[in-house]
């Protein structure tokens, strides 16, 4: 019998995340390579049904929707039950999700329910002799492991920003409703309110461009430069552990081994020397720029482009230049 692949496409507040499209496209691509049937799954309130056809543009011909008013708010316990029931009902062999805040806690719970092995936060998936070989970072990216899952059912979560979603071809997917019987007990934990850290602030793990500052900035108020630069570039603000430990910046901005691991297309490190635990968190960025006074700082070893100068001169000049060329006067 043909194998089945299911991608859980995450939506929050009536919008798909970009990483959901990446997971759908990747799921479809792998399905084709192993000659499997591909399904996508959307969970939520009536928004879920409205959104589902959009996944067609990313390669899903059929989308299963589990709609329930109570599923409008994310509940780890209810969502993991829904996914497991869909997996059982549709006899799914391979499950893909995004390694987002939601996917990272859902995947292991689903794995526990359906007795599946998993490879989480994957940065590459290859099919060799009909088997999926997953590559995932360990030690915060200081090394990688290639993993094969030997259980019958297999779960993979994909690191956001790494796999390509491509452009939608606009083809709507066929939508199939599936009912799951949910009781109050299934909602033993439920998210009831979201608090944005700053209005409209981009998370470092989701941003295409990250501008990070370190101790070289000398004082917390000098982060205004970093914020301005990030804003001009449409990016997110990151920080080194030193400045987070000093209380200059919130810990959700920390990039590095005990903070967040990022792989944006552009990472700009300003006043960061490049401690090994910081490099681990950002060295998989596609292009790295370093601005630091000390030309021997380790950050220059991973940077594609560097300016070994005084950031208090270089950064304002960079802001002006970017305003000019990007037309944001």
């Amino acid at each position: 019998m043909a194998k089945r692949v299911l991608t859980f496409a995450e939506q929050r507040e009536g919008k798909f995340k970009k990483s959901a499209f990446e997971a759908v496209r990747t799921g479809r691509k792998i399905s084709d390579e192993i000659s499997a049937e591909f399904l996508a799954l959307v969970i939520g309130d009536e928004n879920a049904t409205k959104l589902a056809p959009e996944l067609g543009g990313y390669g899903a011909e059929k989308v299963i929707v589990v709609q329930d008013d109570r599923l409008g708010s994310y509940s780890l316990t209810a969502y993991s039950k829904v996914i497991s029931e869909v997996v059982n009902k549709y006899d799914v062999d391979y499950i893909f999700m995004s390694a987002t805040a939601m996917g990272k806690e859902l995947a292991p719970r689903v794995a526990g329910k359906i007795d599946a092995g998993f490879a989480l936060d994957c940065t590459d998936l290859k099919v060799e002799d009909g088997e999926i070989i997953a590559t995932r970072p360990v030690y915060a990216g200081k090394a990688f492991i290639k993993v094969k899952i030997n259980s019958e059912r297999k779960i993979y979560t994909l690191r956001p920003n790494v796999f390509t979603a491509g452009e939608s071809d606009g083809k709507p997917a066929e939508v199939e409703r599936f009912e799951v019987n949910l009781t109050d007990d299934d909602f033993s934990v439920v998210a009831f309110e979201t608090v944005a850290s700053t209005k409209g602030k981009l998370d470092v793990t989701e941003a295409d461009i990250v501008v990070s500052g370190g101790r070289g900035l000398k004082a917390p108020e000098n982060f205004k430069m970093i914020e301005e630069l990030a804003e001009i570039l449409g990016g997110a603000v990151g920080a080194s552990r030193a400045v987070v430990d000093a209380g200059w910046r919130p810990h959700d901005e920390q990039v590095g081994q005990t903070g967040k691991t990022v792989s944006p297309k552009l990472y700009i490190a300003i006043g960061i020397s490049g401690a090994i635990q910081h490099l681990a968190g950002m060295s998989s960025s596609k292009v790295i720029v370093a601005i630091n006074k000390d030309k021997d700082a380790p950050i220059f070893q991973v940077a594609d482009y560097g300016i070994a100068g005084d950031l208090f001169e270089v950064v304002p000049a960079l802001i002006e230049e970017l305003k000019k060329v990007l037309g944001k006067q």
């Binding site: 805040a101 990272k104 292991p108 989480l120 936060d121 492991i145 899952i149 401690a275 000049a317």
Partner: protein
């Protein structure tokens, strides 16, 4: 209240990773091992919970006999007793989770704390998976936790670009994130006292791995970058390169 906290022993963050002779794990020679940094937040929260509600804090760790070090550290911080699940084999997350779940089931704590992830394999799966195997709810990446005396609780967990508030109730599993608290340093008195606190050693129950590491690789070396200048005059060249060569802005 019966409180459990699971801890792991990991290479410290300054470690330069080298691949070991098996090609599948790191070379441990010369590596300094520490209590997993996120587990410090878990231990601290366990102690704070005990201070509020009374009870006992049990520390559990699975690994070789050297894992006693991290149990002792948690005991020095103030935990009451430890359980070492001895095992020297290479286990995957699922197999470790099953062994932990078996022991935790027997303890049946009201609340179980983990660090949100272990900074070695980084898969952030342990708290959720152990909770599922125990049939308990879980909340992970928790930066704020308020437990009420009736057992209901509200946690805040980090999500992309903010936090979400999650309602739950005991018994529950919590994955602690940096920001949840400020871990205390073990006092000299605490360190002395820890030497006399009981640590029970047991063989870890055996379970099969579901995954197999084929090989461990170092990241491909980056080709050396260019220093394009030493002052603000290099800025226009930098912007040109980012636009025309790297094509990222």
């Amino acid at each position: 209240m019966k409180i459990a906290v699971c801890v792991n022993r990991v290479p410290d963050t300054e470690t330069r990773v080298k691949i070991g002779p098996d090609g599948k794990t790191i070379d441990k020679s010369g590596v300094n091992f520490i209590l997993n940094p996120y587990d410090e937040f878990a231990v601290e929260e366990a102690l704070k919970t005990k201070e509020k509600f009374g009870g006992e804090v049990v520390v559990i760790s699975l690994g070789g006999s050297e894992n006693v070090e991290v149990i002792r550290k948690a005991l020095a911080m103030g935990a009451d007793r430890g359980i070492l699940l001895k095992d020297d084999s290479q286990r995957d997350t699922f197999s470790i989770a099953k062994a932990l779940a078996e022991v935790l089931k027997e303890l049946s704590p009201d609340i179980i704390f983990f660090g949100k992830q272990s900074i070695d394999y980084d898969d952030q799966a342990m708290p959720s998976l152990v909770a599922e195997l125990l049939g308990l709810p879980s909340i992970t990446v928790v930066v704020k936790l308020e437990i009420n005396s009736d057992g209901t609780l509200i946690a805040e967990r980090e999500i992309e670009g903010g936090r979400e508030k999650v309602r739950g109730k005991l018994p529950i599993v919590i994955g602690a994130q940096r920001g949840l608290n400020e871990p205390r340093y073990p006092s000299l008195k605490g360190i002395m006292a820890a030497k006399n606190k009981p640590v029970e050693e047991r063989e870890a129950p055996k379970f099969d791995n579901k995954t197999e590491v084929i090989e461990m690789l170092l990241p491909p070396p980056k080709k050396p970058g260019r220093i394009i200048g030493t002052d603000a005059s290099a800025v226009s060249e930098l912007v040109r390169l980012l636009r025309e060569e790297a094509k990222v802005i």
